[in-house]
């Protein structure tokens, strides 16, 4: 799933490790998310959205035709 995680993270001046520590996941998970290799759980999506003070829809771009 495409997302604007990297964009928001850089805007906020956070490193991948900082963000990982804040949302309590590993740095590898943040890397995978930013590369669009991993789709987060609803809980993590909410945590990330909350961290950047945006809605989930702003952060993650849903595409109906995306390969499941």
């Amino acid at each position: 799933m495409e997302n604007k995680l990297e964009e928001y993270r850089i805007q906020k001046g956070l490193t991948q490790q900082d963000l990982a520590d804040r949302v309590e996941v590993s740095r590898q998970t943040i890397i995978s998310l930013e590369h669009g290799h991993y789709n987060p759980s609803i809980l993590l999506a909410f945590r990330l959205a909350h961290e950047f003070d945006v809605s989930i829809e702003d952060l993650f771009l849903f595409n109906e035709e995306e390969k499941k």
Binding site: S26, T29, Y38
Partner: protein
């Protein structure tokens, strides 16, 4: 930092548990070796089990002190253990390992069943042993390979 305290507490508990059981086991093993009472089993096995438990205790103590000394590193370790992506990878790897193990054991069971009526040659004890070794080792390899693949691939 609550999870860190929990982690430290757990490691301390494991360390004490392994230490007490290790000392007991080693003590009993050594005592049996010295008294030479015929038990039907080699008492050195009990001593070695005790030494293994003492080793586990030492490793738990080291984890405890590492967590106490470097709380941030320990916090990351705790997070990494419960990380949702890693959990998903491990679940998938576990499932693959389970089905590999099932297939091997099912194969052995079928062979044993069919060979008992003479349709297949009867397995020797050696072959049966190697088959059982495969039932342990192959799922482990599948599990580890799946975790490595999951970490490198689309997860």
């Amino acid at each position: 930092m609550k999870s860190i305290e929990k982690y430290k507490y757990q490691q301390k508990m494991y360390a004490w548990l392994f230490l007490i059981s290790g000392i007991t086991c080693t003590g009993v093993g050594v005592a049996l070796e010295l008294t030479e009472i015929p038990l039907g089993i080699d008492p050195r096995l009990i001593t070695r089990m005790g030494i293994l438990l003492l080793g586990l205790s030492l490793s738990a103590w080291l984890r405890y002190y590492k967590a106490a000394k470097r709380p941030q590193t320990a916090q990351r370790m705790v997070i990494a253990k419960s990380d949702e992506r890693m959990t998903a990878i491990k679940n998938k790897a576990g499932q693959r390992g389970f089905w590999t193990s099932m297939a091997i054991i099912y194969g052995l069971l079928m062979w044993e069943s069919v060979s008992s009526n003479g349709s297949l040659p009867i397995l020797t004890a050696d072959i049966r042993w190697y088959w059982l070794v495969a039932a342990v080792v192959l799922p482990m390899i599948v599990n580890i390979a799946s975790i490595v693949q999951g970490n490198r691939g689309e997860y």
